[in-house]
């Protein structure tokens, strides 16, 4: 069966009379390998279409190279649809792509930098081979039969190979770069195979004929797109250690077999899974998907995780790529709790349909400049940084998060940890209410600690208020898009200076957001704030009751005990875990 995407590509031409319904192409749609004129296999036609047509990872049939068992949920789960308001549709081509008035026309594909034959070499660097599923077929309209057509290719020619019937046609194939030539039009669309060799690689194919004039087609590789919290989830991972057992139990209770549990002893007791990697993807119009793992230069125990589980062939695998950018001594700023993505936003008329990347840029150190450059080069999620230096760990996930909210004006809400909201909450509570896990015996003792209040006032004025203003500006948000979540910070040592802050009350914004199918409530895994006496349960927890009233009712909330393993070590459940999600959608509609 030919890739469904070929129809979509065809539809990117502007006129119906270029539609190709020839028997030849119909047979290609059967998916059978096509013989070229010399009897060799055309790279595009040998593609196993089943791998890519559904817009899902092909992991379910993945190899024995460290992939998860199906029961562990590595394959797309039932939750592979976007959240209620999410942007998580699969990249499967649609009728919309066939719109002849579509702004873009051309081929939009994954960069063929994975390793489908698992030999440790990026596929683009190799001669075509049968298992390669990232060479996309594309039908190029041609003018009247017999007319001489001139084609001219420009752009990133060293990162593009165009094949026709198994033969090198244009681009960088066979070691030479073919930029232009002429041929006699067959009078019908010709089927090409497009292969790109780098993220965001771009080229333009100009077709010049006397009858149709000049027509230009874009050929472009997907950028790396990092995930945001409105995308449906496929699987969550967490690390089990003796101390983290209550946290792991909480994740299991919330997610069943959709959580993968790693053993801390396999990873030198590193339990901070959020900080080691960031999941992202590339997608193509033909439904192809390559999972990309951004690997932090942090390189603590969990550094082995992606290579052991996903990218076992020198940082690659079939449909998997590992990216590492930067070098030298890592700082806390290089951990990926310090690298997050907003939901889709529109700012001053500029749309960011895949959200914007944000990170702490004056952290304890900061996000490595080489990584910043790499992310900026992707363009589609234009990054911005802000000051997180007041925090001990200095990670953005300590301050805010985003959740889907169909009833909200933009379909999502930003949850922002706010100390004024923290004191407002404390003042609404019975001062004599007992607390068991804090150094304060009652709510009143916490509320009345003047030095704590002074410090939180300073944090609010000097750090949180400017941060909130910055997010409003960078993401085009207003007050209706924001929920101020009660938070209090206190000073801790062990970081870069004598006074840096960490969450006093477990930072509830440091949550895991897991949208499910339409109509299914989004699961929120939230650190248990323990605002109750030792004998009480969560139903009697004052913070939890208060918190639930702040949010709309489209959530299934799970408050998980992370106190000892994570909270007391300056992290929470988001820091503890990592989530693989359904790719975000059709980037080519936003391509520049």
């Amino acid at each position: 069966m030919l890739l469904a995407g070929s129809l979509a590509f065809m539809a990117c031409s502007q006129e119906d009379d270029f539609a190709d319904s020839s028997p030849e192409n119909a047979s290609k749609e059967s998916g059978e390998p096509q013989a070229s004129e010399d009897g060799s296999k055309a790279p595009g036609s040998v593609k196993p279409s089943g791998d890519v047509g559904a817009g899902k990872s092909s992991n379910s049939e993945k190899d024995s190279q460290g992939k998860q068992e199906p029961s562990s949920g590595d394959e797309p789960s039932d939750n592979d649809e976007p959240g209620e308001s999410g942007n998580g549709e699969s990249p499967e081509p649609s009728e919309e792509d066939n719109d002849p008035k579509a702004k873009t026309k051309g081929a939009f594909v994954t960069a063929n930098i994975d390793d489908d034959n698992k030999n440790g070499t990026a596929d683009f660097q190799e001669a075509a081979f049968a298992e390669d599923n990232d060479i996309a077929e594309w039908k190029l309209p041609t003018p009247t039969k017999g007319e001489t057509v001139k084609v001219r290719l420009s752009g990133d020619l060293d990162k593009l190979k165009l094949w026709k019937e198994g033969k090198d046609w244009m681009g960088a194939g066979e070691g030479k770069v073919q930029k232009e030539f002429s041929f006699e039009s067959p009078g019908e669309s010709i089927t090409l195979q497009v292969e790109m060799g780098a993220y965001n690689a771009k080229a333009e194919l100009e077709v010049i004929s006397s009858s149709r004039g000049n027509e230009r087609y874009a050929l472009q590789a997907s950028p790396l797109i990092l995930n945001h919290h409105l995308q449906g989830f496929e699987k969550v991972w967490i690390v089990n250690s003796p101390a983290s057992a209550p946290t792991v139990d909480g994740f299991r209770a919330a997610l069943g077999n959709q959580v993968g549990v790693l053993s801390a002893s396999d990873y030198r007791n590193d339990i901070w899974l959020q900080d080691e990697i960031e999941f992202g993807s590339m997608t193509g119009m033909n439904g192809a998907r390559i999972n990309v793992i951004l690997d932090s230069i942090r390189n603590r125990g969990l550094d082995a995780f992606p290579e052991r589980e996903f990218t076992t062939n020198k940082g690659r695998n079939k449909d998997w790529v590992l990216e590492v950018h930067g070098q030298g001594r890592a700082t806390s700023g290089d951990s990926f709790g310090n690298l997050e993505v907003s939901p889709p936003v529109s700012v001053g008329g500029k749309k960011y349909p895949f959200g914007r990347i944000y990170y702490g840029d004056r952290a304890n150190g900061k996000l490595n400049s080489q990584l910043q450059s790499f992310l900026e080069a992707q363009k589609i999620q234009k990054p911005f940084g802000f000051d997180t230096s007041w925090l001990c760990v200095s990670h953005v996930d300590e301050i805010l998060t985003f959740v889907p909210a169909p009833s909200a004006p933009k379909g999502f809400l930003m949850l922002f940890g706010d100390t004024r909201a923290g004191y407002k909450m404390l003042e609404s509570m019975d001062a004599s209410a007992p607390l068991s896990r804090y150094r304060y015996r009652t709510v009143g003792e916490m509320r009345d600690d003047q030095s704590l209040r002074d410090r939180n006032e300073e944090i609010q004025q000097d750090a949180l208020d400017p941060t909130l203003a910055r997010f409003k500006k960078e993401l085009g948000l207003d007050d209706k898009d924001i929920v101020l979540v009660p938070a209090l910070y206190h000073d801790v040592t062990g970081c870069k200076g004598p006074e840096t802050a960490a969450a006093l009350i477990p930072g509830t914004v440091n949550m895991v957001v897991l949208p499910g199918k339409k109509g299914v409530k989004t699961k929120l895994i939230i650190p248990d704030p323990f605002f109750r006496s030792s004998g009480a349960n969560q139903s009697q927890d004052l913070f939890i009751s208060y918190f639930k009233k702040l949010l709309p009712d489209n959530f299934e909330m799970h408050f998980v005990d992370d106190w000892e393993a994570y909270h007391k070590k300056h992290g929470e459940v988001h820091c503890a875990s990592n989530t693989k999600r359904v790719p975000g959608g059709k980037w080519w509609k936003a391509a520049e």
């Binding site: 250690s241 101390a243 007791n269 590193d270 339990i271 901070w272 900080d275 603590r300 806390s332 951990s335 709790g337 304890n364 001990c392 760990v393 990670h395 150094r439 003047q450 030095s451 704590l452 002074d454 410090r455 300073e458 004025q461 000097d462 208020d465 400017p466 000073d491 801790v492 040592t493 062990g494 970081c495 200076g497 004598p498 006074e499 000892e564 393993a565 994570y566 007391k568 070590k569 300056h570 992290g571 820091c575």
Partner: protein
């Protein structure tokens, strides 16, 4: 003076330690710094106390003596609170720390001390503070002192405020302002305003503000007119907490709403806009 809970802790209270503990907490003059000889004597007694605890509560002591810190999110070492949540654990931890060659471990112990809820933190920390060679560990010890409520705590905090390293002095001042008996430190805080290090001055200004004592007047003009935005902010905020009317006057006379540092300008706006 706080009553000692555990009999073995009595061993800690040597004549020297008692002398320190019973000294008037704050006078106009800075207190005497604990001498190394006395600190060594105290440390020796701490080790004896730890040995005694090991004999008296072998199973528990075995557990505390073998518990290991694990990595926090920043990579620093942190003890699990549940493993050390016993007042007497402070003695065992400090005994381990005193013999441990790794500063990161000693720092983890210093940060863990408040989790023990020991009622003797002030006196226990005094000797460590005098003997510890690494400034970063002393920073953590000075930080832990904000949770120390025994009668020796003020004296020990004053000791930390005279440390050779400005980071330790800075932390000591911030612990003073967070201390339940913060008012005891008024003179020490005022003295620290003359410190040669700007960070220490800023900490002193913040501590002064948090005291909210209208009788403790200082002239903040030199800081408000100075180059350091950190000091301008600390001075203005401190003045705001002590006396709002005076703060408003300064904002007006120095046009601080147009301060080049956004944090200072925002604070100035707040001073003017508040009731």
């Amino acid at each position: 003076m706080t009553t000692l809970r555990h009999p073995t802790m009595l061993a800690l209270m040597s004549a020297c330690a008692l002398q320190l503990a019973l000294s008037p907490p704050v006078q106009g003059e800075p207190p005497e710094v604990l001498s190394r000889a006395i600190a060594l004597e105290q440390q020796s007694q701490l080790w004896q106390a730890a040995q005694q605890l090991t004999t008296e509560r072998p199973q528990w002591a075995e557990q505390v003596n073998h518990t290991q810190p694990s990595r926090s999110r920043t990579g620093s070492l942190v003890f699990a609170p549940s493993q050390i949540a016993d007042p007497a654990a402070a003695t065992l931890l400090l005994a381990r720390s005193g013999r441990h060659p790794d500063a990161a471990f000693r720092r983890a112990v210093a940060e863990a001390l408040p989790e023990t809820h020991s009622p003797q933190l002030g006196i226990l920390i005094a000797a460590e503070l005098a003997l510890e060679s690494e400034a970063e560990v002393r920073v953590s010890l000075a930080h832990a002192l904000r949770y120390a409520e025994d009668s020796s705590a003020p004296q020990t905090l004053m000791q930390a405020a005279q440390d050779s390293d400005p980071r330790v002095r800075e932390t000591a001042l911030l612990s003073m302002r967070a201390h339940p008996q913060a008012k005891l430190f008024a003179q020490a805080i005022v003295r620290a305003l003359q410190d040669e290090d700007a960070r220490v001055q800023a900490a002193a200004l913040r501590a002064w503000g948090s005291l909210r004592d209208p009788n403790l007047r200082i002239d903040i003009e030199k800081w408000l007119r100075g180059e350091s935005a950190q000091l301008r902010l600390a001075a203005l905020r401190g003045q705001w907490r002590v006396d709002r009317a005076v703060a408003r006057q300064w904002v007006g006379s120095l046009d601080l709403t147009h301060d080049p540092a956004p944090k200072v300008a925002r604070m100035a706006q707040r001073v003017l806009s508040a009731d």
